[in-house]
């Protein structure tokens, strides 16, 4: 969706200027996006049935208790005023306090964000090289049994839903073999080795989830670049197949490959609630879902803002890298 914003013509500007001007435009557009997102989320949460007071009290909600709690939480103020008040804080870097736990949201959010980044980063560190290698090997042996086998395995991995592969891994590695812990509850005071041990199974589950998509897209991008006539030239020149792939095919395939990697990174940031739940991992997704069910609007907005910002920045990064790696875009057509 962000591609549309990135491809306006930039006239005769030089490569570096084009890059900076693109980044500047995109950052401004991103800020506007964030504003729109926060407004949409606030409106959406206000449309949901029930409010924070009834959601917290649940079955124990008597009219008197609800009224008392609403006063305590400041929910007697008009919605528009509450939104502006929140926005005023955010502009000054203050996410406010949680409606329900009175915790400072910035502190809690940062803790959770670090955990999510750690999980997503570790997954990417494993998944990206493996996916690239699989894609590369598939193309090198295109049509052969290695290609078919890799295709079969990666597609199977994509087809497995995460809650299933997660439980399967728990069953094998924690319950049957007892090698790895089934709960990944990481703590601030944990040594790095214990942390890595704790997240091994969720990382494996997530790698299975994103690997197929990334390797298949790498393979497709490489194959389509391979069909160009300059590749025929390179082959006719007598270059070895590896060299053709490495020097001539890959540089022209980077754009789509990086795009799919970044899309998957974005997914790892925002779409891992199920994995967090199965492995009891204290990430941002769980925090946000909890807060939605309790209608804790400032927390949901804080989470959404951070996740949207990450998403926008990742996309910006993808486009910038595509620009840098593709000489044709860089120098203008």
């Amino acid at each position: 969706m962000f591609m549309a914003l990135t491809l306006p013509f930039f006239g005769r500007a030089t490569g570096r200027n084009r890059l900076t001007s693109m980044i500047a435009r995109r950052l401004v557009a991103g800020l506007l996006m964030l504003l729109a997102i926060s407004l949409l989320i606030f409106a959406g949460l206000n449309l949901l049935p029930g409010d924070t007071a009834t959601a917290i009290l649940g079955q124990s909600a008597t009219p008197a208790a609800v009224q008392a709690l609403k006063l305590q939480l400041g929910l007697d103020q008009p919605a528009g005023w509450r939104y502006l008040h929140w926005l005023g804080g955010v502009v000054q870097g203050d996410f406010g306090v949680s409606l329900t736990s009175r915790e400072n949201i910035s502190v809690a959010l940062w803790e959770r964000l670090k955990n999510t980044l750690f999980l997503a980063g570790s997954t990417a560190l494993v998944a990206v090289p493996v996916a690239l290698t699989i894609g590369f090997v598939s193309v090198r042996f295109h049509g052969g049994w290695v290609d078919t086998l890799l295709n079969l395995l990666t597609r199977a991995a994509v087809a497995l839903p995460e809650f299933f592969s997660g439980y399967l891994l728990i069953f094998i590695f924690s319950m049957s073999l007892a090698w790895l812990p089934s709960n990944s509850s990481v703590q601030v005071d944990m040594p790095v080795s214990a942390r890595l041990m704790a997240i091994t199974l969720p990382v494996l589950t997530l790698v299975l989830a994103v690997l197929g998509h990334m390797s298949n897209m790498t393979r497709a991008a490489l194959l389509s670049a391979q069909r160009s006539s300059y590749i025929d030239t390179a082959v006719l020149k007598g270059l070895s197949p590896m060299r053709v792939l490495w020097r001539h095919v890959l540089p022209n395939a980077w754009g789509p490959i990086i795009n799919v990697i970044v899309l998957n990174m974005a997914y790892l940031m925002v779409g891992v609630v199920i994995v967090e739940n199965v492995f009891v991992y204290p990430g941002l997704g769980q925090y946000m879902v909890d807060s939605i069910s309790k209608r804790d609007i400032p927390v949901v907005q804080g989470c959404a803002l951070v996740l949207s910002a990450v998403y926008i920045l990742l996309n910006l990064f993808a486009d910038a890298v595509a620009l840098l790696t593709n000489p044709r875009i860089r120098h203008g057509t």
Binding site: L48, P49, G50, A53, T54, A55, I56, L57, G58, Q59, S60, A61, T62, A64, A65, V66, A68, L69, L71, Q72, S98, T100, S101, R102, E103, A108, E111, Y167, I170, F171, S174, M175, A178, P181, S182, N183, S185, Q187, N277, V278, F279, V280, P282, Q286, Y287, D290, S291, S293, K294, D296, V299
Partner: protein
């Protein structure tokens, strides 16, 4: 006859003597006495119903995770023991006079809070008033509504005056929320007198505590540290227990209990009758306005099938009676209503209700509610009753469906007294009268029982109360569900407290780790 005061003083004294006698002499005196609790070790517990919105303030304890973690830091005035009796905790003895209108509590001396302050009557007043505040939304505010006076009548004496007599008032104080913190202190700081001291509290993630070396009760607090993890996924809890990364879990899914029970490293803890599942029908709407309509629906439910199918057999038959079998006033002589399609048909025709009845079901009402509703639909069909099951969302269930739709699903946990649940849900002006069933004669009985000092008479009144609910009430209570917890085999000292799961929420301080 021994009066209540001297009797309770007596038991308190026995408990103290037992506590002061060293465990060595006890174990040597009785050869087959179990080994004394082993000290030390790190206990890890995985519980559900945790949320990032949890708070240490007991006025905001709504679910099992907070009940259990809060009870590690704080003590209440009284506790419930393994036999369901009220026993001393921070109140070492108590007495009532004026027919249950005036209560005097003697607060235990030389008890220290975690920060070194000593416990006095003032702390008790402060902590109880926390729930009485006008602005409070505490779930136990109603228990203290009859209180007209709450005063420190001595350094270690608290006097409570009630507007109307309640001979069981002391039992209400065993509710998990009535814990004590130091005067003028916020509960959020976690400063209690409990067996464990707060190290870190991360709502929705975990709580870590270490043993309180100055704890007043030498029989509690055996492990060095306790970690309570938020594990809302039931499969994740079971997997963690089997793989040994936690030692205690709660709410085992009844469908897999059979498999867990066979595992050599795991023991199942079955707390019988800890919760009722209810199907309240609004008595001010047809067909519930007619007694025949209510009876037809009571005969049309196949209770045993519901127990076997929805709960894997881990429940016992309910008789539309909200008094729990663990209560001393439970009437065992009321005949169990059978599943009888013919009688249901007879009453349904007499009620003359035409048009389908809609049952709004969500698992938020009770786990397995949607399945139960579908079973009910089938069994009612055989009696010619058309019951349409409407599946409603869990989200906002308690706001939009419960108390609003004519027929829905709900549940209640066991309460400290029979009266607590009756006056909370079943009397005319009860705040959560979920069936809108309002019968003045019933209210009279409940009120009379509350103030009746004669045990025999009170038993008779409660019997009449239960007969009335079984025969006329507008709620179907098909079953009493068990609470199912499980521990690793090396966890010892985990006892079952009637009506309160996880050893009365105090498993952390009661258990020790063997080997």
């Amino acid at each position: 006859m021994i009066d209540r005061r001297s009797f309770i003083k007596g038991t308190g004294a026995i408990a103290m003597t037992a506590a002061m006698t060293s465990s060595w002499s006890l174990s040597s005196a009785f050869a087959d006495e179990p080994a004394p609790p082993k000290k030390g070790g790190h206990l890890i517990i995985g519980l559900d119903n945790a949320s990032t919105t949890d708070r240490l303030d007991p006025a905001f304890w709504f679910e099992s995770w907070m009940y259990f973690t809060g009870s590690q830091l704080f003590n209440a005035l009284v506790e419930i023991d393994d036999k369901g009796e009220i026993v001393p905790s921070l109140a070492e003895s108590w007495s009532s006079s004026e027919g249950g209108r005036k209560w005097v509590l003697n607060i235990r001396k030389s008890v220290q809070f975690h920060d070194g302050r000593s416990l006095s009557a003032k702390d008790v007043i402060w902590s109880l008033n926390h729930h009485r505040d006008e602005k409070s939304s505490s779930p136990v505010k109603g228990y203290l509504e009859p209180v007209t006076g709450l005063a420190a009548t001595g350094e270690h004496e608290v006097t409570i005056t009630l507007g109307e007599p309640n001979v069981e008032f002391i039992s209400l104080l065993s509710a998990v929320h009535f814990v004590i913190t130091a005067e003028n202190e916020a509960f959020e700081k976690g400063i209690g007198t409990g067996a464990f001291i707060l190290e870190s509290f991360q709502p929705g993630v975990r709580m870590l505590v270490k043993r309180n070396p100055n704890h007043w009760n030498p029989e509690r607090g055996h492990v060095d540290s306790v970690e309570t993890l938020a594990m809302n996924d039931s499969t994740a809890r079971v997997a963690a227990l089997i793989s040994g990364s936690v030692q205690i879990i709660n709410r085992v899914n009844p469908r897999i209990v059979g498999r867990i029970e066979k595992m050599p490293s795991i023991q199942l803890v079955r707390d019988k009758d800890s919760q009722i599942f209810t199907l309240p029908g609004l008595a001010n709407l047809a067909p519930f306005t007619s007694l025949d309509g209510r009876l037809a629906l009571k005969y049309a439910v196949d209770r045993q099938q519901m127990i076997d199918t929805v709960l894997g057999g881990y429940a016992s038959l309910g008789n539309d009676n909200p008094v729990f079998p663990s209560s001393k006033y439970f009437s065992r002589d009321i005949p169990q209503r059978p599943y009888d399609p013919d009688r249901a048909r007879f009453h349904w025709q007499k009620a003359g209700f035409d048009g389908p009845l809609v049952l709004s079901a969500a698992d938020a009402g009770f786990p397995g509610a949607v399945d139960a509703a579908q079973l009910y639909q089938q069994s009612a069909k055989k009696a010619g009753i058309v019951l349409n099951v409407e599946r409603v969302p869990d989200d906002a269930f308690w706001t939009d469906t419960w108390l609003k739709k004519p027929f829905c699903t709900s549940n209640w946990g066991a309460r400290p007294t029979a009266d607590a649940l009756l006056s909370l849900v079943f009397t005319s002006n009860a705040p959560w009268n979920e069936s809108a069933w309002r019968v003045p004669a019933f209210d009279q009985l409940v009120k009379a029982a509350r103030g009746e000092t004669d045990e025999v008479k009170r038993r008779q009144i409660y019997h009449d109360v239960q007969v009335m609910l079984v025969d006329q009430g507008s709620e179907i209570i098909p079953l009493y569900a068990d609470a199912l917890s499980a521990t690793r085999k090396n966890v010892r000292g985990f006892t079952s407290v009637p009506g309160v799961p996880l050893s009365g929420n105090r498993a952390a301080e009661k258990v020790w780790l063997e080997g």
